[in-house]
């Protein structure tokens, strides 16, 4: 007995000392060699929530930053619900993006001595609900999300001063773990957080990340939506940080699909029209967008792109109500909610103000709340702990948390990842590639996509695509200047399939431009495809076919192609019209994650459930500037 008491006394002593011990210095990123140009695509997830996020913890997540790191590095980790989860290929980098708003608050509340809450009926009720049962904890989370949307959270959750101490300690401890796992050249762990403004339930969320180590990043504490709902205040915070530390930050908007037209509004937060100063700041602070993730895909919508037969991907379940499902979204709002339309709006605003606020590249990331970022359909780790893989009916369960009606488990996409063409696997190189937008989004598969633009390419350049690409033009995310002799821009494009996923169906170029009447337009070109198919007069390419066996969850790579590459020149070019071009790569049809669940657990999916999809990649655009 005595021995055990001594043990606990020692353990208690150790707790008091925890955090005082220094962590060993990691290898310095300056020792890592950078390649001349980006030779390798690095894969990452910039949007992982751990038990420090108020909602993730409330949903039941008990995996911390360390577990998230180990999983991303490819190790087997047991999920909160007891599922042994592992990535088939490790990720190269990760951003833990816990909600800055009430960071760590549910965990702190849960772990607080009950006696400390006796004077606060409100918190005591939540405290007891969380401890009583899983359902209770889910109800608390639903109330938290509603409260955050409606601005009715208690002071302990919202008052910045009241939580400064908790957040400060947590942020420092988090930084220690991040530093322990950051291994320049092998695995990059970024400091970051999520800024979560949601006025009226309209999603204006941003992931915010640092280029710097924890020592610098912990000189500030995460900026939260409780301090301001106006994103310009976030940008001011970023500037202040950079001035103070000499560091650098960027911000990544996401889930514009549930913003009710607000993410890419033509107006600023205060309702006044976007001006040049705002446009310049936004373009600098927000160089990339998270276009696809578990809560749906934000590329475009069939309402906006009626001639795009692939526009409906990831739309179902997310286009009727805003994030908190407190407001229905009218079709007229869609133009401010989807990225393709935003790129077009950017051209209009550039004409009006002289600067393009929506000059962004594209990445995907998961927004997982389980600490585990696996978005392979076959191994979907779930949106949150309430729908981890061993929750049998997760595909069919209604997701009506709080007032959230009409969303079912199957509406969640097992998506996405960020592909980054960087010169090394270091914070500096990956961050800098994001700043120059040399990045692309995928809905999960790790296909390798190259996209170069300029005036000097020819069909012969395809044979040595990468070196010619860099030598004679710009990569994805870049700008091409005005055409001198009216010559149409040329492009080199390639895509190599993910060797652990499916063949490729086709590569498309999506062009958006502003015409002489000031109207914006879009057109989709099928530029190269697998198999023996012919483009018809209206530019449409016959479907690649479908080999999916729903009873087994398999498909055959007998259709499509392992690799596609081509030279392409814009056939409809007008030298005086600003335009953007981006690439969309489509895989052949494969089963969605609910299909694997239905096979594993032996249930039937209704007709309304989407069972077959074409996974895809979206590159950052290349912009043509008629005056530049």
């Amino acid at each position: 007995m005595r021995k055990s008491a001594q043990y606990w006394a020692a353990a208690l002593g150790a707790i008091a000392l925890a955090g005082c011990s220094g962590t060993e210095t990691a290898k310095d990123s300056s020792q890592i060699e950078n390649s001349e140009y980006p030779e390798q695509v690095y894969w990452g997830d910039t949007h992982v929530h751990t038990d420090n996020s108020i909602d993730a913890f409330g949903f039941g997540n008990r995996l911390d930053t360390e577990a998230a790191m180990r999983f991303a590095k490819g190790e087997q980790v047991t999920s909160t619900k007891g599922v042994e989860a592992q990535l088939s290929q490790p990720l190269d980098f990760i951003v833990i993006a816990d909600h800055a708003a009430a960071l760590g608050a549910t965990k702190a509340l849960y772990n607080a001595p009950r006696i400390a809450l006796l004077g606060d009926e409100f918190l005591l009720r939540w405290y007891d609900m969380m401890h009583e049962s899983e359902e209770g904890s889910l109800r608390v989370t639903a109330e938290l999300i509603d409260g955050a949307a409606n601005g009715t959270l208690p002071d302990n959750f919202t008052d910045q001063e009241a939580q400064a101490e908790r957040v400060g300690e947590l942020w420092t401890e988090h930084g220690n773990i991040i530093e322990r796992y950051n291994e320049p050249g092998k695995f990059t762990a970024f400091m970051g957080f999520e800024y979560t403004p949601m006025p009226g339930g309209d999603n204006l969320h941003r992931v915010v990340m640092f280029r710097d180590n924890a020592e610098k990043a912990t000189q500030v504490i995460p900026f939260s939506s409780q301090q301001s709902l106006n994103v310009e205040d976030l940008w001011a915070y970023m500037s202040a940080y950079e001035k103070k530390t000499g560091g650098q930050m960027l911000s990544i908007p996401h889930n514009s699909n549930v913003s009710n037209g607000q993410m890419f509004s033509m107006n600023k937060f205060d309702g006044s029209p976007i001006d040049a100063a705002y446009a310049k700041t936004r373009a600098m602070r927000e160089p990339i967008i998270e276009v696809t993730q578990i809560k749906g895909d934000s590329e475009t919508h069939p309402f906006l792109s009626p001639n795009d037969e692939f526009a409906s991907y990831g739309v179902a379940g997310w286009d009727k109500y805003n994030l908190s499902a407190t407001k229905p979204m009218a079709e007229s709002s869609y133009a401010g909610s989807y990225t393709r339309e935003a790129l077009k709006r950017g051209l209009i605003l550039e004409g009006q103000t002289g600067a393009n606020p929506f000059k962004f590249g594209m990445i995907g990331s998961s927004d997982t709340h389980t600490s585990l970022a696996d978005v392979r359909e076959k191994n979907f780790t779930g949106k949150h702990t309430g729908n981890e893989p061993n929750v049998k009916d997760r595909a069919l369960a209604p997701q009506n948390l709080g007032t959230r009606e009409g969303r079912f488990g199957w509406h969640y996409l097992s998506s996405g990842y960020a592909g980054v063409w960087a010169t090394s696997n270091t914070r500096e190189a990956i961050f800098d590639a994001m700043m120059r937008r040399e990045v692309y989004a995928t809905t999960g598969p790790r296909m390798q996509v190259r996209f170069f633009g300029g005036f000097d390419y020819s069909a012969d350049d395809v044979s040595n695509l990468v070196s010619n690409g860099y030598a004679k033009g710009v990569p994805m995310g870049g700008d091409i200047k005005a055409s001198e002799d009216g010559k149409a821009p040329t492009f080199l494009i390639s895509a190599l399939m993910d060797p652990e996923s499916a063949n490729l169906d086709r590569i498309q170029v999506v062009k958006g431009w502003i015409d002489s009447n000031g109207q914006t337009n879009e057109k989709i070109y099928n530029v190269v495809w697998g198999g023996d198919r012919k483009v018809s007069g209206d530019g449409k390419l016959p479907a690649v076919g479908n080999t999916v066996d729903l009873s087994k969850g398999t498909w055959s790579n007998d259709i499509g192609a392992a690799e596609l590459m081509t030279f392409w020149q814009d056939p409809d070019f007008a030298a005086d019209q600003n335009a953007f071009y981006y690439v969309r790569v489509l895989e052949i049809p494969t089963p969605t994650w609910p299909v694997y669940d239905s096979i594993k657990y032996g249930f039937t999916l209704g007709d309304e459930v989407i069972k077959i999809q074409q996974e895809r990649a979206y590159t950052s655009p290349i912009w043509y500037n008629a005056k530049g």
Partner: protein
């Protein structure tokens, strides 16, 4: 005397004595069964420091005195609550305390020495002992070819040149010496597994990658043993995780040892 040993009151008193002895021996100051409350100077420092941190200012003597009084009141009520058994049967308190016991083990455990890391590697040989590096030439022939055997024979006797049957793919035809993990990343994990079974210095296969079939000529195969310095960061993290798990289990097992647990059969 034997009669006395069967007396419940004696049992009770003996039990109380044991508990008392325990707290006396272990020096635990917060014995809930005691009627003595001793607020030490360091307790007062802690109470004041907590308050200063929340209020962000210095406190007056009266304020500190009020906090100490409050602390004493809480302690009295807390002990009385325990005496009344108010914690018993309360699921919230039960779970809360269990949770607190668990978190005692996840405390910082410092950094391992090299010899501890050596020992750790020794215990997990599969994870750290050895991996392979390969350099090879490959001929990608697409997904379905019926002439595989004839082609292999032709490649070996020189009657077929690699470029005669090669299907173009942007991956280099010559893979430079690389870790198997990096090769797996390029070609898929099943490909790497299949590489291990091939003979070297001659055309072999075909084996399958995610892209299709490849004939392979392994030019070089190296078995690499990990040196601590190569993977110190990973090793340290792994060692720490294992240590925490071990401590947790050991602490629990030690506690559980003193319990006789009986569970009624159920369906």
């Amino acid at each position: 005397m034997p009669k006395l040993l069967k007396e419940p009151l004696v049992h009770f008193l003996a039990g109380a004595l044991l508990i008392f002895a325990y707290f006396w021996l272990t020096g635990a100051s917060r014995d809930p069964s005691s009627y003595e409350i001793n607020i030490t100077a360091s307790d007062i420092d802690r109470i004041a420091a907590d308050a200063i941190r929340t209020s962000n200012r210095l406190l007056t003597h009266d304020e500190i005195s009020a906090l100490v009084d409050q602390n004493v009141r809480e302690e009295i009520l807390y002990r009385e609550a325990l005496r009344l058994g108010l914690d018993d049967g309360d699921a919230v308190i039960r779970r809360r305390l269990a949770n607190k016991m668990r978190s005692l083990n996840t405390s910082d455990i410092g950094n391992p020495s090299d010899s501890e890391l050596e020992e750790f590697i020794g215990k997990n040989p599969a994870q750290y002992k050895e991996y392979y590096r390969y350099a090879f030439d490959h001929i990608y022939i697409g997904r379905s070819s019926t002439d595989q055997k004839i082609w292999l024979k032709g490649l070996r006797d020189g009657s077929i040149k690699p470029d005669d049957i090669r299907v173009s793919l942007s991956l280099d035809n010559q893979q430079k010496l690389a870790d198997e993990a990096d090769i797996g990343r390029k070609f898929g994990i099943n490909f790497t597994k299949a590489l291990g079974g091939l003979e070297t210095q001659q055309w072999a296969g075909p084996i399958e990658s995610g892209f299709g079939q490849h004939f392979i000529m392994i030019q070089e195969k190296q078995a690499i043993t990990y040196q601590i310095d190569d993977i110190r960061q990973r090793l340290t993290n792994d060692w720490r995780a294992a240590q925490i798990e071990k401590n947790e289990k050991a602490a629990f097992d030690e506690l559980a040892e003193s319990y006789a647990i009986e569970i009624a059969p159920f369906k």
